[in-house]
């Protein structure tokens, strides 16, 4: 863990109701993610990886316990306040890219900046810079259905980091791409982590991601099984 804490989970539990059965997806979890971390959350399916990411990202609320992002208690915020936090402080990279199909690569990357009300010129400067950074120069006018999976995931990464968030939450970002593309995407994210000290937190099954992570947290049945810091 590096420097100050970006994310802090305190005795967090998330229970889902599946019919009449109670599923304890996260079970009394406490966790700190530091600024500039390149950390990965691994574990078998159903171990609670995505639920933890959703709780940190303010997409879901814990049944008990607290979730802090930059010392702000997300469990105490309203839906609209959380949506502002997500817009300004969190970047998301999804397994299925989840780009907006009617927007070009440029517009997808620009989307959150527009929600923030950033000026047109500043949007242009920042989006073009970030698209160059992720290797998409010349493809800015393509729509998602005109790009490969790898290219789409690059746009997704660009969209996640263009707002200079406190943390990027990446849910299985390499699951839908071939190994060469996966390596390239990881190179990009690692470089961004190194150059701009952006915090990345992955949930993954992919050994390549685990190998590159500076911190590897293993989950089992909603609890931390191991927490290994590699540097």
């Amino acid at each position: 863990m590096q420097g100050q804490s970006i994310v802090r989970l305190e005795d967090t539990t998330k229970i889902y109701q599946q019919g009449k059965v109670e599923v304890r997806a996260v079970d009394g979890l406490s966790l700190n993610i530091g600024k500039g971390d390149f950390a990965a959350l691994c574990g078998p399916s159903g171990s609670g990886k995505t639920t933890v990411l959703n709780l940190i990202g303010g997409l879901d609320f814990p049944t008990s316990g607290k979730v802090f992002l930059e010392d702000q208690d997300l469990t105490a915020l309203s839906r609209s306040q959380i949506s502002v936090i997500r817009r300004d402080r969190i970047g998301f990279v999804f397994q299925a890219y989840n780009l907006i199909p009617v927007l070009t690569a440029y517009e997808n990357a620009e989307f959150v900046l527009k929600l923030q009300g950033v000026s047109k010129q500043e949007c242009r400067d920042r989006v073009m810079a970030i698209l160059n950074e992720v290797g998409l120069e010349g493809l800015e006018n393509r729509r998602p259905d005109e790009m490969s999976g790898g290219q789409q995931q690059r746009v997704s990464i660009a969209r996640a980091i263009v707002t200079r968030p406190a943390i990027v939450l990446a849910d299985e970002p390499t699951a839908n791409v071939d190994s060469t593309t996966a390596d390239t995407l990881l190179d990009i994210m690692q470089q961004l982590n190194k150059d701009y000290n952006i915090t990345f937190f992955f949930s993954t099954h992919d050994q390549r991601v685990m190998d590159r992570a500076h911190r590897l947290i293993s989950l089992l049945d909603g609890k931390i099984e191991t927490d290994e810091v590699r540097r």
Binding site: N54, G57, L59, D60, R79, S80, S83, V84, R86, R87, D88, G91, F92, F94, N98, I100, P101, V102, L103, E107, E110, F111, V112, K114, L115, Q116, R159
Partner: protein, 412 residues
């Protein structure tokens, strides 16, 4: 990327569906134009035709005459009133007349009926349906003041022809029975059997003489206006200008209650039909927008995950329905314009089905189905269809912003 531009692109993701919905909105415009246009045309025609049957759009008459018409109720200085009213804005004409009941006897038979005493100098065919409907002879060609123009059915019943004599008996200003002889100078046929069988035209000066009225006296001043829709507003102005406790100023709705009732009932039926059609079309639009929202649940989840607020998402879907409304109106105008032009200028001839002499509320109805639209009706249709489409978008828009992103992201 502006919300409007994004909504526009979203709309064209399913071109066929958008076009079908736009066409259904356009069809709604066409139906609304047809129903409203037929109302605007028929009601105006019937009201204007009714106004030329004696009483005008507005009638100035002695107080109480409308409830119990009797010739002892006189409108004094009717000529002066007429001159004043003719100077008022919105008034196209004002005519002094005497209307009353009488018995009409020929050599063979006697029947009851109504007379309308008119001044040939003030009358013209466009202001008087009976003159417009003359089929034989003319209006009082001689100067002897003994002319009479009768309806075709009355002529038939009394066995009258041009030049035949007729005696009419009525009561004068004092309630005394008075009689006069007249010679048939013309026969009219309006097609309305109550009019053709019971109404006659007489010269006003002769009638004044036998009723013992003064030169300026009459029972009514029939006022016609340029646009019947403003009759009540003009009535109020006339009442303010010439009204007094001895006079009443009434609109056609008060003097021709049967016609007013028919129009009110028809309008109500027309509105109900239009509301039902509107609801059917709104249900179609709602279905389209709801489907388009439900199939994008995951996409909306992503938008909210990256920071779009539920309120902005609500706006996005609402802007989509705004565009749909605009496209629908454009389609509506394109498909309705030739339909409107045909019905306005040519019309559909229903005389084979209802006959040429079809009347309602004592007024002859044109058997050609035509439409016309007032500016207010055009604005009402466009606003109504536009609002209905926007309203249909509210529930899908609300639903889009309501689903928590974590649930939306799970959607396939």
């Amino acid at each position: 990327m502006k919300l409007g531009s994004m909504a526009w692109r979203n709309l064209w993701r399913r071109k066929r569906r958008t076009l079908i919905t736009a066409i259904s909105i356009g069809f709604g415009v066409m139906l609304a134009v047809t129903f409203t246009g037929s109302g605007d045309y028929w009601y105006t025609n019937m009201i204007n035709a009714g106004a030329t049957m004696g009483l005008g759009h507005i009638t100035i008459e002695p107080h109480g005459y409308n409830q119990t018409p009797a010739l002892d109720k006189r409108l004094l200085n009717a000529g002066q009133i007429r001159k004043h009213v003719l100077t008022m804005p919105g008034v196209s004409n004002a005519i002094v007349r005497i209307m009353g009941q009488a018995m009409f006897a020929s050599a063979s038979k006697t029947i009851g009926g109504m007379f309308l005493a008119v001044d040939p100098a003030q009358e013209s065919p466009d202001q008087n349906l009976l003159l417009r409907s003359l089929i034989q002879g003319q209006l009082f060609p001689g100067a002897d003041g003994r002319g009479i123009v009768v309806g075709s059915k009355m002529a038939e019943k009394l066995n009258l022809r041009i030049g035949k004599k007729l005696v009419y008996t009525t009561t004068d200003v004092s309630g005394e029975i008075v009689s006069e002889i007249a010679r048939v100078t013309g026969i009219f046929k309006t097609g309305v059997s109550e009019v053709d069988g019971a109404l006659v035209l007489l010269p006003i000066n002769s009638v004044r003489a036998i009723l013992h009225y003064d030169d300026e006296d009459a029972t009514l001043v029939a006022v016609t206006v340029n646009d019947q829709r403003y009759a009540e507003r003009i009535r109020d102005k006339i009442a303010a200008a010439v009204g007094n406790p001895l006079r009443e100023v009434l609109t056609w709705k008060q003097t021709q209650t049967e016609l007013a009732g028919i129009i009110t009932m028809d309008k109500s039926g027309n509105y109900i039909t239009q509301v039902l059609i509107g609801l059917l079309i709104a249900a179609g639009i709602l279905n389209t927008l709801l489907m388009s929202v439900l199939e994008r649940t995951r996409e909306f989840g992503v938008m909210m995950a990256v920071g779009m607020s539920p309120a902005t998402l609500f706006k996005l879907v609402l802007v989509e329905s705004f565009w749909l409304a605009l496209i629908g109106l454009a389609v509506g105008i394109v498909i309705t314009a030739p339909w409107y032009a045909y019905l306005h200028y040519v019309g559909l001839d229903f005389s084979g089905a209802i006959g040429k002499d079809y009347s309602a509320g004592g007024v002859l109805v044109d058997p050609i189905f035509r439409i016309r639209l007032y500016k207010e009706s055009i604005i009402a249709i466009l606003t109504g269809v536009f609002s209905l489409t926007l309203l249909s978008g509210i529930y899908p828009a609300w639903r889009a912003g309501r689903t928590p992103p974590v649930e939306s992201l799970k959607a396939m």
